[in-house]
Structure formats: structure tokens, C-alpha cells
């Protein structure tokens, strides 16, 4: 049988509940807090804080020391230093264990050092290589660690690098002197992040490290946002050229919205993912109505502003109602973990 609530020993939570309800006097509240204060806990907390602070300061000191001597260092010393840091992080990670958080963070640090090494290599030898090559090689080199690391943030880092590679390739080479419309690059970016989302959905049942709640919304945003830009652009400025490309982009974006909506309502209910999908649609709808009001010259005398305020209120209310309705139908409002 559980003890009555007031016969339990005070803890922080119950004391705070009583304080927030205005039931307990300040003097009694502090007396309760003081009673719970364990000097050993405080010492442990202070030791941990000093350890983190001290390590950060010593590391910063090392960085400043090399920054001071950077110009005086030989090429090989500069590169050797970064290689040593990479190997050091890997060695320390192996020692800690790559299945533990410390080891995984060290593996991530090693992956970042690889990028820094390439940047310094480009600076020292003035290779003149394009930026997309730098990010592409970096992503390629750390791929084995990404696959073996079983660490979601490292996976995300790899996807960010590949996104940057694709985007920079388009900017520097792919658009053929601005002959091609930017909408064409949004499609591969959506495909890339959509593939990430698909992989996450397929593998999450098998691998626990892919089940983080933040991973699904991140990939979903990465997949929908690139094509939302040409879709909105088509409404706002369809006369600027690239109409066909923007139209194709908009159609694919709408298809993506439909597929993800069906998936997250029927196969794998997730209110957070649905909020992203419906939020995309709401933004599109608000922009379209705003454009119509602008074409009717309603913004000049201020009436358009008033109508837009009403439209935003209406669309948001519809979004909230729809999402709550879906959540009630599925008996939960919390985002699924799977």
C-alpha cells in the first residue's frame, strides 16, 4: 500500500509543488530544501563542474598555444599535429569503448578533425579545389566510422556534409552558369533527406540508437523544406522565370506531403511529424491567400493586413483542430518513439 502523500519524506518535486501552490511558507520551504542537502552530493557536483571547466580551459590553452605558433610551424608539423589529434581521439575512443557515450563523442571529434585536416591541407598547399570537393571527400572518408559508430549525431553530421556537397556542387558547377533554375537542386536534396528518413524508419525497429525522438522530425524537415521553397516561389513570383521547374518542384512537394501524411496517420502515428506536414500545407495556403489579396491591391489601404491577420488566425485554428482530431482518433497526442 502506498504512503499518504504528506507522510513521505520531502523531495524537491513535492516541495516545489507546495511552494507553487502557495501552501507552504518560505521558511518551511527552505527548511525542507536544507534538510535534503547532502554535502557529498554537492561535493560531487562541484567536482564534476570543475573537471569539465578545467578540461575546457586546458584544451583552449592548447588551441591558443598552437594559434600563437601557427605561422612558425612547418607544413608537415601542422598536418602531423591534426593527424595526431585524429588518431588520439580514435585511440581514446577505443580505450573508453565505442559503445559508450564518451567513446562515441570521441569518434565524432575524430570525424571533425578529419575535416579540419582537409581544410588545413587546402590552405597549406593552396590546392584551389572547389568547396564541394572538400565536403564530399570529408563525407566519404568518415563513412566507415558513421556506419560502424552506431551514433545518431554522427549520422546527422554525415547527412549535413552530403547536403552541403550537393548544394555547393550545384552552386559552383551544376547550374551551368545559371542556365538551370535552382528548383532542380531542391529535388535531389529532398530525395537525399527522404532516403535518410526512409532508412531511419526501416532500421529503427532493429537498431535502438536510431529511435531518438528528434531524428524523425529532423529528416522530415530536411526532406520537405527544400521543395517548399520553389512551391512558395511559384506563388509569390511566378513571372521571374523557371516556372516549369518550380511547377515540377511543387508537384513533387505535394506528393511528398500526401505520402508522409498517409504514412504518419495510417502506418506510424506521430503527431510531431504530422504537425510538420500540416504546418507546410498551412504555410502554403497562407502564402497563396496573401498573394490573392496582394493581386487585388488590398494591402495599399491597410485592409489586406487586417484580412491577412484573420486568415492566419483561421488557418492556425484549422491546423490545431485537425491535429487534435487526429490525435484523439489515435488515442494519443504524444509523438511515437518508433
Amino acid at each position: 500500500m502506498t504512503k499518504p502523500l504528506l507522510d513521505q519524506t520531502p523531495d524537491h518535486r513535492s516541495l516545489k509543488v507546495l511552494r507553487d501552490a502557495g501552501v507552504i511558507s518560505p521558511a518551511s520551504f527552505w527548511a525542507g530544501i536544507r534538510q535534503m542537502n547532502d554535502p557529498q552530493e554537492w561535493a560531487r557536483w562541484a567536482a564534476r563542474l570543475c573537471m569539465v571547466l578545467g578540461s575546457a580551459l586546458v584544451l583552449a590553452a592548447v588551441v591558443y598555444f598552437f594559434a600563437f605558433n601557427w605561422d612558425a610551424l612547418e607544413r608537415m608539423q601542422k598536418l602531423g599535429l591534426l593527424q595526431a589529434l585524429t588518431l588520439g581521439a580514435l585511440g581514446a575512443g577505443q580505450w573508453v569503448g565505442f559503445r559508450r557515450l564518451g567513446g562515441q563523442l570521441l569518434l565524432m571529434a575524430a570525424a571533425i578533425f578529419v575535416g579540419v585536416s582537409f581544410a588545413v591541407f587546402g590552405q597549406v598547399y593552396q590546392t584551389g579545389a572547389d568547396a564541394f570537393g572538400f565536403f564530399g571527400i570529408w563525407a566519404l572518408c568518415i563513412l566507415p566510422w558513421v556506419l560502424a559508430g552506431a551514433f545518431a549525431p554522427l549520422w546527422v553530421l554525415w547527412f549535413v556534409l552530403v547536403n552541403l556537397t550537393v548544394w555547393l556542387f550545384w552552386n559552383q558547377v551544376g547550374q551551368f552558369n545559371s542556365l538551370l533554375h535552382y528548383s532542380y537542386i531542391c529535388i535531389p536534396l529532398t530525395v537525399l533527406n527522404g532516403a535518410g528518413l526512409l532508412l531511419r524508419e526501416r532500421l529503427a525497429t532493429r537498431y535502438e540508437w536510431l529511435r531518438g525522438r528528434w531524428l524523425r522530425p529532423l529528416f522530415l524537415l530536411g526532406a520537405l523544406t527544400p521543395l517548399l521553397i520553389p512551391a512558395l516561389d511559384l506563388i509569390v513570383d511566378s513571372s521571374a522565370g523557371g516556372g516549369y521547374a518550380m511547377f515540377v518542384g511543387s508537384v513533387i512537394w505535394m506528393l511528398c506531403l500526401g505520402v508522409t501524411y498517409l504514412y504518419f496517420t495510417r502506418c506510424q502515428f506521430d503527431s510531431t511529424a504530422l504537425c510538420i506536414v500540416l504546418g507546410n500545407a498551412a504555410l502554403y495556403l497562407i502564402t497563396a491567400i496573401g498573394r490573392m489579396l496582394e493581386e487585388a491591391d488590398l494591402f495599399d489601404d491597410g485592409a489586406g493586413f487586417f484580412l491577412m491577420a484573420l486568415v492566419i488566425v483561421g488557418v492556425t485554428a484549422l491546423l490545431v483542430w485537425w491535429l487534435r482530431e487526429l490525435s484523439q482518433r489515435h488515442g494519443s497526442t504524444a509523438g511515437s518513439l518508433q
Binding site: L5, L6, D7, T9, P10, H12, R13, S14, L15, K16, R19, D20, A21, V23, I24, P26, W30, A31, I33, R34, Q35, N37, W42, A43, R44, W45, A46, C50, M51, L53, G54, S55, A56, L57, V58, A60, A61, V62, Y64, F65, P217, S271, T272, C275, I276, G279, A282, D301, G302, F305, F306, A309, I312, V313, V315, T316, L319, V320, T333, A334
Partner: protein, 347 residues
Amino acid sequence: MKLRDLLNDDQIEPAEAALAQAHPEAMEVKDPVILKVLTAVSAWVASLFLLGFIVLAGQPDESSTFAIGALLAGLAIMVHYSQKNAGTFVAQSTLSCMMCGHLMMLVGVVLIMDYQSDEMLTLAITQTLLCALPVWIFRRAAYQLIALLLAAFFWTYYAVEMDAPWLFRLVLAVQVSALAALTLWRGRRSSFGYALALSVGATLFFLDWIQSMPRNARFDEALWPTNLIIAVFLAAIGGHLLPVANRWQPKVLVLFVMLVALAFLSSPGLLFAIALLTLGYGLRDPIYTGLGLIGLPTFIIFFYYSLQVSLLEKSGILLASGIVCLLVAYLAHSSLEKGASVEAANL
């Protein structure tokens, strides 16, 4: 000691009700965070469109700017009090309406004064008077924060303009005293306390920023009074958290002197971040802890970044400070281990 022992007889019933209501099983399921964010953003955008409509359609002059501002604020306060359990959209709409009203009142006063007198002083005095709204009437954390930040910013800017460090210290002392009164004396968790903590942090960051500029070097001379204000606050936190028997123990006093000495050598912001961390950990309050965790690296980075010495000297200073911290960590750790082994031997 039981919870019951901390309460008077007449507090027992409401306490049981409060605890039962806060029980995890009694809590309502909430909307996902992203929906709240989306709704809040749309509320703000809708309010801005409404403001655009008022400005364009009405084209108000000086006094009507103030009047419309007051009207908006009044409307927001009315909705705020009539809708106690309002959803995110209504809550954010009233918040944005209140902020727009507040800013319009502020701009209205400056326009009415017609820039005749000292503009910054007018702004500072008006903003301080307007702070009565977030403190007593419209108690929302974001509004309180912005109102306090604006007041602190205007006064600090005026203090710098007039080259009056005493005024800066006075503003800071008022903010810190209010924070201490709320958190320690009244022992209440309030959005105003969080807003004050952030506002003090921002004021101290502003001080650091001024100091890094060569033309305001006169503010450099007297950092110790600012440090003293924060040190008194830290001492008050320690006094509230430590049992009476432990307050004057040599270990505690040495730790306190070390902390204050460290802060006197660096910046008051660092000491304030430590104070927030201590308060946050003592109360297990994630917001004070979070503010302290953000403040600590921010003030450290800013301090070392703005040091006017060579990179090699900076490296040396950093190394020395790092070693001191690691030494303290080692001593604390070894004393813990010693305590544990003595306990094991006694068993």
C-alpha cells in the same frame, strides 16, 4: 522528517489537494512542442499584420500613437484575465498585443516629448514606469523579460553616456535585490525571477562588452563594487541552502573565498553564472541551472577573448586557470573517496 512536519494544521488539506493534482497520473496530455511553436509564431505574425493595419489605416500622430498603444495593452490585459486557461494561440496573441501596445506607448511618449530633453533619460524613465505593467498586471515571462531588459538597457546606456558607473551599479543592485527578494526571501518560483536573472546576465554582458571598447576605459577602474553586489547575492544563496551548522565550516568559507577571488580576477558575469548554477542545483530548478550553464562558458569565452595580451600569454593564463580547476576537482574527488572508504570501514 515528513512533509507534514513542515506544514501548519490549516495547510494540510490544501497541500494534499495540490500534491494530488500534481501527481503524474492526474496530469493532462499536452500538444506536441512543435505545434505550440507553430501556433505561437502564427499568433505573432497575425498580431504584426494587425499592427500594420492600425498604422496604415489610422496613420496615428504622437498622442494617438500613445492612445492606441494603451488601448492595445488594455485589450491584452482584458483577454489575459478573462481567459485563464487560454490555449497557446490566444496566450501568444495577447502577449504580442501587449508588447505592441507597450512599444507604441513608449514611442508615443518620446514623440510627445519631441526630443526636447535628454532622449535616453526620457526613454529610461518611461520604460521604468511602464515596468509596473509586467510586474503587477500582465505577468508573462517573455513580456517581463523584454520590459526589464529594455529598462536595464536604457539606464545602462544612459550611465555610459553620462559616464556615471554609480548609476550602472545602482541599476544592477536593484535588479539583484529584486531577484534575491523573489527567490530567497519569498521562496517563490516566478516567471519574473527568471526574467530578472536573464536581465542581470544581459546587463553584465553589456558591461563586459563596454569594457572591451577602449573609449569607455573608465568603467574598467571600479569593477569591484559590481563584483561585491554579486558576491553578496552568492553568499545569500549559500546561507539559504546550507544548514546553520555547516555555514561557518572552514571548508565552506575557503570555497566561498576561492570563488569570490576567482571572480574578482575575471568578471562579475562569471560569479553571477556560478550563483545561478548554485541556486539551480540547490533547488533542482532546470531554468536557473540552464541559465547558469549558458552564462558560464559565455562569460569565460568573452573574458579570455577580450584580454588585451598576446596569444601565448592567453594560453598561459588559460592553462593556469584550467590546472587550478582540475586540482579542485581532484581534491574534491579524493575527499569523497576518502569519506566513502571511512564509511565502508565503519560498516
